[in-house]
Structure formats: C-alpha cells, structure tokens
Assembly symmetry: C2
Homo-oligomer: 348 residues x 2
Amino acid sequence: MVRLKDIAARAGVSIMTVSKALRDEPDVSDATKTRMKLLAREMGYVPDSTAQGLRNRTTKLFGLVIPSLANPIFARLVLAIQERAHELGYDVLLGYTLHNPEREETCIRRFLSRRVDGLFLSPVYRLETEARVYQELLARKTPAVILGHTAPFCSQFANVATDDLTAGHVLTQHLVQLGHKRIAFLGGPPATPWTRERFEGYRRALRQAGLEVDEKLIFQAGRTAEDGAKAAVQMINEGSDATAIQAVNDLVAAGCAEVLLRQSVKIPEDISVVGFGNSMLSEYFRVPLTTMNQPKHRLGAAAVDSMLQLLRGNRPEAKRLTAQLVIRASSGTPPATSVLERLKTLRT
Amino acid sequence: MVRLKDIAARAGVSIMTVSKALRDEPDVSDATKTRMKLLAREMGYVPDSTAQGLRNRTTKLFGLVIPSLANPIFARLVLAIQERAHELGYDVLLGYTLHNPEREETCIRRFLSRRVDGLFLSPVYRLETEARVYQELLARKTPAVILGHTAPFCSQFANVATDDLTAGHVLTQHLVQLGHKRIAFLGGPPATPWTRERFEGYRRALRQAGLEVDEKLIFQAGRTAEDGAKAAVQMINEGSDATAIQAVNDLVAAGCAEVLLRQSVKIPEDISVVGFGNSMLSEYFRVPLTTMNQPKHRLGAAAVDSMLQLLRGNRPEAKRLTAQLVIRASSGTPPATSVLERLKTLRT
DNA sequence: AGCAGCAGTTTAATGGTTTCCATAAATGTC
DNA sequence: GACATTTATGGAAACCATTAAACTGCTGCT
C-alpha cells in the first residue's frame, strides 16, 4: 500500500509538500503539484480516509438505520438518500433494527463509535417517553434526522415525514365518495405514529361524512402481508359487515386481499380494499391496489437536505410531504349487502 | 466526547492501563479492570473506531457494491449479508453502481480509500476481458467476493452464484412437460452471464426434447418491467406463435404479462409466462408467477463464508447454489393455437 | 532596513494500540 | 535466610497516516 511518505521519499521532498500538493493547497508551486500528482497516480496512491478522518475529525460517513429492507418503501428511500449522499462525497453505513430496540441501540452505538458525521434514523417506536440512546444523541449533539414521525422519545430531533393524517383522510374520503358507509381499518403496531395518523385521518373523514366510527370495524393487524391475512381471517370469522377495507400499508392490504380472493370474494365488486405506500407490490398486485403514493424519493432528498442544514449548524424545520391518491382497480362502489356477512351465514 | 485520556486523568492512572483494562488484556488486575470499566460506562466512553482502525490496520468494515435496490432480489441478499456481518462485528458500507462501470469504479475506490477489510461485488458485466479496477483489486490482494457469476474480467475472484444453467433448464423442462413446443425466451443484457446461463439451460432443454431453437422466439428484453412490456408489444406486433414465455427474471415476466393481460390474453389458458427469482412480486402478481426460487439468504450466507475464508488467507472454492422450481398459476397446458397470432390477424 | 510573498519544511496533534521496559511482589534455590 | 528468578501489574515511547499551524530561508520591492 502506497503512502504519502513513499511518494515523498521517491520525490525527495517532505511529506507535507506531497500532502499539500495533492490537495491543491496554495503554497506549493504548480510545477511541484503536477509532479506530485503524476507520481501519486503512477504509484497508485490511495489516500487513507481512516487517517484523514482521525486528523480532520470528520469522516464523510452517514449512518442509516432502518427496520429492514422487507418493506419495499425503504428500498426506495435508501436509494434516494444514498444517491444524494454519494454526490456530496459521503458514504453510507447501513444498519437494521428488525424492529428491535436493543438492536437499534447497538446499531447506533456502533455508528457513533465509527464517528459518523450524521445519522438517519427510522426509529423503533416505543410508548415510553424517553429512550436512552436518543437522550445521548441529543447530549452529544450528533446530527440526526428522523425518517418518519417523531414521538415523545425523539421529539427534539429534526424529521422528515409523510403527512399521514391528510393522506389517511384523503383515502377514506375516496371510499366514502364511492358510497361506502362501513369501512374497516386495519391498523399497524399501535405505538407507531404513522398508524395513529392514518387512523386519525380515517376517523376525521368518517366524522365529516356523518358516519360513526365503529370499534367493530377497527382491527389491529401489523405491517406484514401475514398480518393482513390474519386480519382477513378474523373479519371473515366475525362476519363483518364492512364493504371496504382500508389497510395501513400495501403489504397488509395485499395479504388481506389475497385471503379474500381465495374465498372467491371479488375485488372491488364485492368489497373494496385500499393500501398505503404505492410500492411496486400495489401496482402489480392481483387486483392493482388503490393506494396513497408515499413520496419516497422526495422524502430521501428532504432528509439529506435537513442533514446538510444540521451539519451547517442550522436547525432545519420539520418537513411533512404530501402523499397522492393513486386510484387503481381495487376500489369501487359498494355492493348491496356485505359479502363477509354472507360468507359467514353460508358457512353456518 | 470522552477519550481514554479523560478516563485516565480521572482515575489517576496512565492511558495504557485504561486501554488494557477495557480490552481485558491479561496484565491488569481484575480490580482495576472493573474500576476502569465502571468509570468508562459512567463517563459515556465510546471507543474511536477510526483511531483503532488506523493503528490496527483493520476496520471491521465491508463494502457491498450492488446495482441498486430496484431489483427485490438484492434487498434480500443485502439483508442476509448484513445480518451475518453484523453478528461478526462488521459494519457494511453500501454502494450503488446503477449498472454503470464508471460509477462502479468510484464506489470501489472510495471503499478502498476507507480501508475496508473486504468487498462484496455484484459486477457491472462488460464484454472486455479486463477491467482496471478489478486488476488493481487483484494486485492489492483485497479480499473480494463476487456476488454472481464471474466473467473473464473477474475470473480470478472468489464467487457465489446461483446455478443458472440448471435452473434455466429446469424451468424450460417444466414448460416442455406441459406440452409447449413454441417457447419464447426474453433475455436480459447480453453481456451478463446469468442471461447466458439461463439461455443455455433453455437451449439444452429444448434440444433434449427434440425441439428446435428458433431465432424468432428469442427476444432481447432487459431486466426491468418496462423492458418486459416492450418485448410483449414486439411479440404481439410480430404475431409470434409462442404458447409460452420464459423471462429472464420476475420483473421482465411481470412487465410482459401485464401487457398481455391488458390485451385480454388469459394466463395461463392462452399463454404461459414464467419468471425467475421468486421475488415477492412473483408471489403477489396478478397471476401468481411460476418461477425459480433464487436462494437469496443462502447466497448471502455463502458469500460471507467465502469472505471469512479469504480473511483467514484461504482460497474459498467457487460456490454454485441450486434454485428450486416454484409452480404457481402462470404456467399451464398450451392452447390449440397461439393467441398472439390470432391477436395479430384480428387487428389486420 | 523592513516587509511581503513564495515554496517549502518542521513540529505537533488526532486517539488508540503494540512493543518494550520498570517496579514490586511472589516464588524458588541452596 | 540471602539471593536469584519468575510473575503480576503498570507505564513510556513509538507508531499508524494524515494535516494544521508555525517556521525557515530566499527573493524582490519600496
């Protein structure tokens, strides 16, 4: 491995001269500069970022902590962040929490130990109002941008999120306008702000339409296709009278719809199903899903912008980006009577 | 930020004592060790990996260079590699080539500059027999594992790949057994070994069945859904007499099938369509796709194993993992006459 | 003479670890 | 019991690759 001193020895100058020449500092003659650069290239010199980082106290490294790549939304988000970071000369360390707080903590600590210049965090949401790592991040003044909504334990941080409240509202409104009066809601983990906001949007849209929010129509599903499938089974067993299902994300919607289709329930003729996110899944799903498009690329770009603000010492404002309704084949006018009810009576 | 010297000053001992104590070196008494550890925890000490890396000449860092996360197969592969690496105490730097050789080169160089302990590379395949960066990697003896097949320009490297030849063969055989005689092949970029192998498997299966390989049935698509869609349009325009379509991956298959379905072509009654990879897309696609399951998790684990071998100074053997046929709804017995032909005559 | 500017060099610092050395206690030897 | 030898414990200096800051001659200008 070639080092500065090797070049210096070979050229018969001091290490500093080489260092300055390669970095185009002013007090080296142009002749020397070109000579050093040529020599460096010829010898295959690659600067050691490790040493540079130690000396300069900056690593040009970001840490990116996400639940996993199982959710396709994150794949796009990571792509966007990575893309902008790369342009700016930053590299990105990837870490998975797998929705596990301990795991999240070890990831963050490792990244701190690597002296990352900043952290992008998709937090594992908890009900507690405090989380030690997050407290420490604040104490250390580590630049950090929350990918998603803040919660009490991370309220002090900069963040970038989808306006899930409005988005949930728009989606429910869409179903209401189609004539649905009994709309089921499949929620995600209760501690997550995105579930809460999307639910609140749903609630408000119903209220606005003069419809009651019925506890029997609220299901706690989760975030995976399996969770959606389970919820579907439960709805069938209960003989729910819903004519439409609003799922907290595309995966849950797909898992739910899959079960219904297997029971020969027709979508959207018998029941409407809508998702959230506009992942590739929703586009190519058996019945293309009506959904809200999460502005994945814009979220990533905005997150990097906020990070740059933090690095400059400014306090970026919280950003909320709007999602767009994407109407596909899975939503339509309600049937005369709920199909799930019929399914139940058929069985008994 | 707390450093060793701060702890040393506070405890009234030398830096070395603290360093050794924290690392459980033998020549420090247990009493001192616990005292130092307590103090370190209390003061919130986080070791500086940058400095450790500089001194120890090892960073516990892997570089992972992939085309992008647009292909869901890579999301799983990255997850698997990351998972094993994390357990072993390594962190992972992620870089995207976007199928661009220059971009690939800058990614690799950056990672080299960061003194990564090893590289996982999903190469941008080229027809040239040499690529400078890869030559340099060899010269520097950087531990590197190719994710996928080797090509002439990277034949010297360790690699981990799916046995695409056999897999392609199995898939075509499946269609032949269903009774298909006119099977179209939608290839990916010609320079890629995976296209070549899957095609070769297709060719051999046809030969074995006594069927001819007809140039008119070979299409050069690409790797995205859009590429698949274009190929479908071309097939329709040409009035192809194919009764089955074997696509080089799930995305191409989905894009192609989507166009056909829009033309009211029924899958699999009118035409069979099979993909490759068993991504989530194939499972939830409008017509669940028959496909080959790429052992994504095992590929990742095998790649990390090879890397560990390299780090120990051994030369790992090349690994080829077998894919499994996953039969879903998109493949069936052929129709009496090709539908695409009929579509064409209908139009004219 | 005094001062600015050029083209470098020397020194010190970044934070931690390896290698070698120093001290004292424990053990061994006759 | 006196001395050598070993062992336990800890410290000093060098080192990893790079860079900021201060410094050294030297030339040219006023």
